[in-house]
Subunit: 471 residues, 2 copies
C-alpha cells in the first residue's frame, strides 16, 4: 500500500484546482480501471486538468512531494497503462479538449491531449482533410500519442510515429518543453518528438500535440472478402504489400471473430476467414487498386467481394469491425480479454498467424484472431474468466507462446498497444538487457525520481520509490 | 590543441587493426575535411573499421582512454559533422560496406554503415525494389542515418526517420545494442531507433542499419517546367501538396541555380525559376498526376513542360539536379559554400522563399536557391571566399536572417543537413533552453564523458573534456 498523500500536497492541489481535485473513492476507482484484464488499481486522487498552466502547477506540486503521476485520457488502454499500482495522482486530461489550431493550408492541427479522434475528425468535416489514425476506440490524441497507436489506416497513412509533428509537454520537474515545429521534416537535434511518442506517460505529461492531417480521398471503396482458409487470406495481403498496392485498410478476421461480429452487430457476413478492404484515391486509381486486389484474391480462392459503395454501408462495415473487440468479449459474458499484439515482417505473417491459431487450438481457450495485417500486426483476443487462476495461467502461457513465435520471426511483442504493465518481460526479451539499460538511463535522466507512471515500460521494481525515505 | 594520443591507446588500436590504424598526417587531413565551409580539423588518428567486432573493440579502447571518437563515412557532411576540433580518432566505416541481408519479400535490407545509397540500389537492381532516400551526394547509409537525411524523394517516401527500421550500434562504453526488429511498426518501449536517427555521431557508432525498401513504380514520368516568377512556381507546389497529389519529387531551382547547372552540366534549360517533377505509379495514375500538375502549373503561368520520357533522359535531368551543388560552387572558382537548410510549413513556403531572395539581394552575395519544396525545405548556397572575413561575416548574417525568417514562420533551421558545428546556436533558439536541457541530459546519460563526436549538436563548450584531468 502506498503512503497516504501528504496533507500539504492535498492543500496545494485543492488551491490550484478547487473541486477539480478529488479523492472521492468512486472517481478514483473509475481512474484505476482500463480495458485490460489487470486488477483495478485506483490512484489516491484525481486531478481534472483544464489548462496547460494548471498542468504545470500540478506536476510541480506532485514533483515536490515525490508523489507519482499517471496521465489519464479515455481509459481505453489494453495494457494497464493508466492503473496506479503504486498510488499517486491520476492526471485526467479529458477536460483539456480544445482544438487549439486547425491549419488546413499546412495540413496540420494542434490539439490538447484530451481531444478524441472522432472529435478532431468532426471538427475537420468541412476542410476536406481528415486525421487518419484510428485505433478503433475513441481514444484521446494524448493517449494515442503515448502508446504510439496506429490501427486500421496505418498501412497507408502511418502510425502516430509518422503523424505527430511536435509535442508540448511538462517534464517531471514541471519544466515545459516543445519538441518540434510545424515543419514536415527536420534534422534539428535529437528527435524528442519521437522519444515522447510511445513513452506511455512515463516521461512527461503532454499539453499540446501537433498532428498531420491528410486530404480526404476523392474516391473510397470498401469491400469484405471471405476466404476458405486463413493462409489464403493472408497470402493475398502479403502479395498486395509486396506489390506496393496502396491499400488504405486491410483487416483480417478469422471465422470466430466474424461469427462474433455477426452476432453483436447483427450483420450477415459469411463465417469464414475474411479480409476487410478499403481503397483511397482518385476514382480511376481506386478502380485500378480494386482490380489488382480482386485478381490477387481470386488467385487465393477469394472471389466473393461484398462491396460497400455508399457511405452508410461503409460506416456499417467499419463500425462492425471497430466493435469486434466488444463483439468478441460478448461471446462469453463476464469475461475479460487478454489481447496479444504481435507484429512481424510481412513475409512471415502467414507463418505467425497459422502458428498462433495452432497454439490457440492446443490451449483449449476461446481466442478470436483479428488484425491490421497490412502492417504484419494481428491480435488474438483471449477470453478469460479473471477469477479462474488456472485459466488465466493458461492464457498467459498462450500469450507467451505467441510472442515467442513473433520474436523468433524477427518481429515485435507489440505493434500498437504498448508495453504497460503486462509486456515488460517481453520487452526485455525483445530488446535485450543492453537496450533496456539505455531505456532506463533515459528514464532516469528525464524522471530521476520515477514519478511519471511508475511501474510501466522500464520499471519492474520501483514500488519502493513511492516512499518518504527518498525525499 | 588536444593532448597527444596516449601511447597505450596507440598500441591497443594497432593490436586490433594493424595498419588499419594510422596517424599518417595525409590520411588524418583527409578525415578532417568535409563539404562544409568550416576550417579543416583533422583527427589525431584514423581507425579503418571492417567489422562490428573491431568497432566494439576500438570504441572500448578509446573509451577507456577517454579519447574522442568521430564516426566517418563519405565525408559529404555540409555542417562540419566529421571535423575533429577536439582531436581524437576518426572511426572510418567505409570498409564496413557489406550488405548483410536483402529480404525483398519483407521489403527491407540490412546494411553496414559504410554502404552507400548507390551501392545499395545497384544491388537491388533485379529485385523490383529500391531504396528511395536520395540526398544528392553518394552518402553512406550510416551518415544518412546520422543526419536524418532526406532529399529529392522524401516528399513521397519520407526521410531516414521513416525508412530506418532498426539500428545496431556501439555505445560510448562499448556496449552493443539493437534498437528494433524487422517489423514495420512497433510500440515496444522508447523509440531508440528514432533517437539514434539524427544523432550525428554523438550518441553511438552504428554497425548495422535495417532500412525499408519500396517497390519500383510501374511507370515514371519526369519533367522540367519553368515559371515567370519564384512565387508562381512555389504556389504550384503548395497547391499540389494541399490537394494531396502524390508527387514523387518536386524540386525548385531559381534562375541563378538554373544558369549554374546549364553551364556545369551542358544542359539548355530555360534560365528561369523552375520546378523539376517526377511522378511514380501505375501508368494511369502517373497520367492522372501529370494532368493535375499541368493544370495547376498553367494556372500559375507554367506551361512549358519539358518531358524526360526515356530512362536516360531522366538520368540526365536528375544528374543535372544532383550536381547543382557543385554547379553553383563552380560559379565562383575557389569559393566555399555556406548552405542554409530551412524548412517551413508548406503554406509559408512562398513567403519564406521570397523573403530569402530579398535578403540575398540585399546582402550583395551570390547565393542560388534550390530545394525540396514539396517538404517546405529549401537551400540557399551562399558562395564565399573563406579567406575574406568581411564576406564570411556577411554570409553568416544572411544565414542568420534566413533562419530567423523560418523560425518566425514556425519552421526549423534544418530540414535535412543537421546541426553539426554550425547550427548549434540556431538549435538553441529553435528548441528553447528547456528542450536543449533534455537533449543534454540524454547525451549525458548515454555518453557521460562526451566521447562521441564532441562539440556537435548539444556541446558548445566541451573542449575541456578531452583532458587527462577527467580520467
Amino acid at each position: 500500500m502506498p503512503q497516504p498523500l501528504p496533507e500539504a500536497l492535498i492543500a496545494e492541489l485543492t488551491a490550484i484546482l478547487g473541486e477539480r481535485f478529488t479523492q472521492n473513492p468512486v472517481i478514483c476507482a473509475q481512474h484505476g480501471h482500463d480495458e485490460s484484464h489487470f486488477p483495478d488499481a485506483p490512484p489516491q486522487g484525481v486531478a481534472f486538468l483544464t489548462h496547460r498552466d494548471e498542468a504545470v502547477a500540478v506536476v510541480r506540486a506532485c514533483s515536490r512531494h515525490r508523489v507519482p503521476m499517471i496521465p489519464f485520457g479515455a481509459g481505453s488502454s489494453l495494457e494497464g497503462h493508466v492503473l496506479a499500482p503504486q498510488g499517486g495522482i491520476a492526471l485526467d486530461v479529458t477536460g483539456m479538449n480544445r482544438i487549439l489550431a486547425i491549419e488546413p493550408e499546412n495540413l496540420l492541427a494542434v490539439v490538447e491531449p484530451g481531444v478524441t479522434r472522432t472529435q478532431l475528425n468532426g471538427t475537420l468535416k468541412d476542410t476536406g482533410l481528415f486525421f487518419p489514425i484510428d485505433p478503433g476506440a475513441d481514444a484521446t490524441l494524448g493517449g494515442m500519442t503515448a502508446t504510439r497507436a496506429s490501427g486500421t489506416n496505418a498501412v497507408r497513412y502511418g502510425t502516430m510515429r509518422e503523424n505527430v509533428l511536435a509535442i508540448e509537454a511538462v517534464l517531471a520537474d514541471g519544466t515545459l518543453i516543445r519538441t518540434g515545429t510545424k515543419a514536415r521534416k527536420s534534422s534539428a537535434g535529437y528527435d524528442l518528438t519521437r522519444l515522447l511518442v510511445g513513452s506511455e506517460g512515463t516521461l512527461a505529461l503532454f499539453t499540446a500535440i501537433t498532428v498531420r492531417l491528410h486530404p480526404l480521398p476523392e474516391a473510397i471503396a470498401a469491400a469484405v472478402c471471405p476466404f476458405r482458409t486463413i493462409g489464403e487470406a493472408v497470402h493475398t495481403v502479403i502479395e498486395a504489400i509486396q506489390l506496393g498496392i496502396p491499400l488504405a485498410r486491410v483487416e483480417f478476421l478469422d471465422e470466430r471473430a466474424m461469427a462474433a461480429i455477426n452476432r453483436y452487430s447483427h450483420t450477415h457476413y459469411p463465417v469464414a476467414p475474411t479480409l476487410f478492404f478499403e481503397f483511397h484515391g482518385s476514382a480511376s486509381a481506386v478502380a485500378e487498386q480494386v482490380a489488382a486486389i480482386q485478381e490477387l484474391a481470386s488467385g487465393h480462392g477469394g472471389t466473393q467481394f461484398l462491396w460497400a459503395d455508399k457511405p452508410e454501408e461503409r460506416t456499417e462495415l467499419w463500425t462492425a469491425r471497430h466493435k469486434a473487440y466488444f463483439a468478441c468479449l460478448a461471446l462469453r459474458p463476464g469475461c475479460r480479454g487478454i489481447t496479444t499484439d504481435v507484429c512481424v515482417p510481412i513475409a512471415r505473417l502467414a507463418e505467425a498467424l497459422l502458428e498462433a491459431r495452432q497454439l490457440i487450438d492446443a490451449s483449449g481457450l476461446l481466442a478470436p484472431i483479428l488484425g491490421h495485417v497490412g502492417d504484419g500486426n494481428f491480435h488474438t483476443l483471449i477470453l478469460i474468466d479473471p477469477n479462474n487462476p488456472e485459466e488465466v495461467a493458461r492464457a498467459e502461457a498462450l500469450n507467451e507462446a505467441i510472442v515467442a513465435t513473433a520474436l523468433r520471426l524477427e518481429g515485435t511483442c507489440t505493434g500498437e498497444h504498448g508495453i504497460g504493465l503486462g509486456k515488460r518481460h517481453f520487452l526485455r526479451r525483445e530488446m535485450g538487457e543492453e537496450a533496456m539499460s539505455v531505456m532506463r538511463a533515459i528514464k532516469a535522466a528525464l524522471d530521476p525520481h520515477h514519478l511519471f507512471n511508475p511501474g510501466k515500460i522500464v520499471d519492474e521494481n520501483s514500488r519502493e520509490l513511492f516512499s518518504p525515505n527518498i525525499l
